[in-house]
């Protein structure tokens, strides 16, 4: 992809970054649930 201005470059890279941020935030929450959903809710902080 060709970029002619810095504005073009940042519009492209930040556009992808914002999509990745949303995916990551949802993905990390889902991954945490995957890691911990088999544990009993004993009120203790599991880490």
């Amino acid at each position: 992809m060709d970029f002619f201005t810095l504005q073009d470059f940042y519009t492209h890279t930040k556009g992808i970054a914002y999509i990745l941020i949303v995916v990551t935030l949802i993905g990390m929450a889902a991954f945490w649930l995957y890691l911990t959903d088999h544990e009993n809710d004993d009120g203790e902080f599991h880490f």
């Binding site: 992809m1 992808i16 970054a17 990745l20 990390m28 945490w32 890691l35």
Partner: protein, 391 residues
């Protein structure tokens, strides 16, 4: 309690002692050659490649893999996860020995070790990242030494000194976390001044963040790996508490490592995105980058998570070895493989056998020191006279 005479009564000609003795003898010869003959006598370093194996492995890997000290003490004393308390002393010991050996290795690389304190008194300015790294490593080594002294004091019977340091536990832990955050990231910052030398896939404005986050993974994985090895070779020196808490440590740290690896994977992808380096992935360096990212970040992340969910302790232990290897691959890539990637192969660096020999020598000294300390000092068991909570 293990007494010196009990150990001396045993034969010293064990396979470990023989192999370690040979490596140490060779190391001493290389030491003499390096300090009397200079760097050119023992290394393949050049003006193009001033940082070689001793920086890439001994320093960068050494510092990252010694991160278990601050990670474990922060978990136990700051975040209150007391069930991992038995892992603190082995982690602090590993950290202390790791940093001590980093300084030892550094003195081989820079030479004239008596000038190591010079940056604090004779220097051009405090804005250098290298100065910050030097200052933090020195201060953190002191902090680790003080954190380690309760075990040595209990062994030597210095009750007052031991009690004084135990009262300082929280302050020392906070200092350790601050200093580690600073220098673990700054080791990455060192490469910020070399954008034209480091391959774009490894170069990023976020490289300090990459180094810091990966050091947490290294610390967590090293605690699991070291715990597995000590359980295998020093089980007779572990008391009931250590044996009981061992599984909690493996599962808890495995879970944390999995989650941090997932975050690390995400920010590495951000690194590619922000510099728009996607097109490099189809090159040879890109293939190697993908091996690192998928094989040594995504794979251990997945294996840790499966191990934690299935309560598979063996899988987590093997994964910790893979994760530790992954950290080493990353540091090698940044410092050696992807560095000077523009140069023709005839100008590229490959360590001499003596550089590898000296690195082996330093690791062997560390293992021998670890063996000596866990044999005599209360690292894997509670001293019978100090059953109260301690550092």
């Amino acid at each position: 309690m293990f007494k010196l005479k009990d150990v001396l009564n045993r034969s010293l000609l064990t396979p470990f002692n023989i192999i370690a003795g040979v490596i140490i003898l060779i190391g001493l010869v290389i030491t003499a050659l390096r300090f009397f003959g200079g760097l050119a006598t023992v290394t393949n370093l050049s003006d193009y490649n001033p940082w070689g194996l001793w920086i890439g492995f001994d320093l960068l890997c050494g510092v990252a893999l010694a991160a278990g000290g601050y990670v474990t003490s922060a978990a136990v004393y700051i975040f209150g996860m007391k069930k991992y308390h038995s892992a603190v002393r082995p982690a602090i010991l590993t950290g202390f020995l790791g940093y001590a050996l980093v300084v030892l290795a550094l003195s081989y690389d820079v030479g004239r070790p008596w000038r190591l304190p010079y940056p604090f008194v004779v220097q051009a300015g405090t804005t250098s990242v290298l100065f910050e790294v030097g200052a933090c490593v020195l201060l953190y080594l002191l902090v680790l030494f003080v954190e380690f002294t309760p075990a040595a004091s209990e062994w030597l019977g210095f009750r007052r000194a031991r009690n004084l340091v135990v009262r300082l536990t929280m302050v020392l832990t906070i200092l350790g976390v601050i200093l580690s955050t600073l220098h673990q990231s700054s080791l990455g910052s060192l490469f910020l001044i070399a954008p034209s030398k480091l391959h774009p896939l490894w170069y990023s404005q976020y490289i300090p963040v990459f180094f810091f986050i990966s050091s947490i993974v290294a610390g967590l994985s090293m605690v699991i790996l070291e715990g597995s090895l000590t359980h295998r070779y020093f089980a007779d020196k572990m008391d009931e508490t250590h044996l009981r808490e061992k599984e909690d440590v493996v599962f808890g740290f495995g879970k944390a490592a999995s989650f941090v690896l997932a975050a690390y994977f995400a920010i590495k992808v951000f690194g590619i995105t922000m510099d728009n380096n996607w097109h490099y992935l189809s090159t040879g360096y890109g293939a190697w980058f993908l091996v690192e990212l998928l094989g040594f970040v995504a794979l251990p992340c997945l294996l840790y998570s499966v191990g934690v969910r299935d309560r598979n302790i063996k899988l987590i232990k093997w994964t910790s070895a893979l994760a530790v290897l992954g950290i080493m691959v990353n540091r090698f890539n940044v410092c050696l493989v992807a560095f000077n990637w523009h140069l023709p192969s005839s100008e590229r660096y490959f360590p001499s056998w003596m550089e590898i020999g000296l690195s082996l020598f330093i690791v062997t000294v560390g293992v021998a020191a670890f063996k000596f300390i866990v044999t005599f000092m209360p690292i894997l068991y509670e001293h019978p006279e100090y059953k109260t909570p301690h550092a």
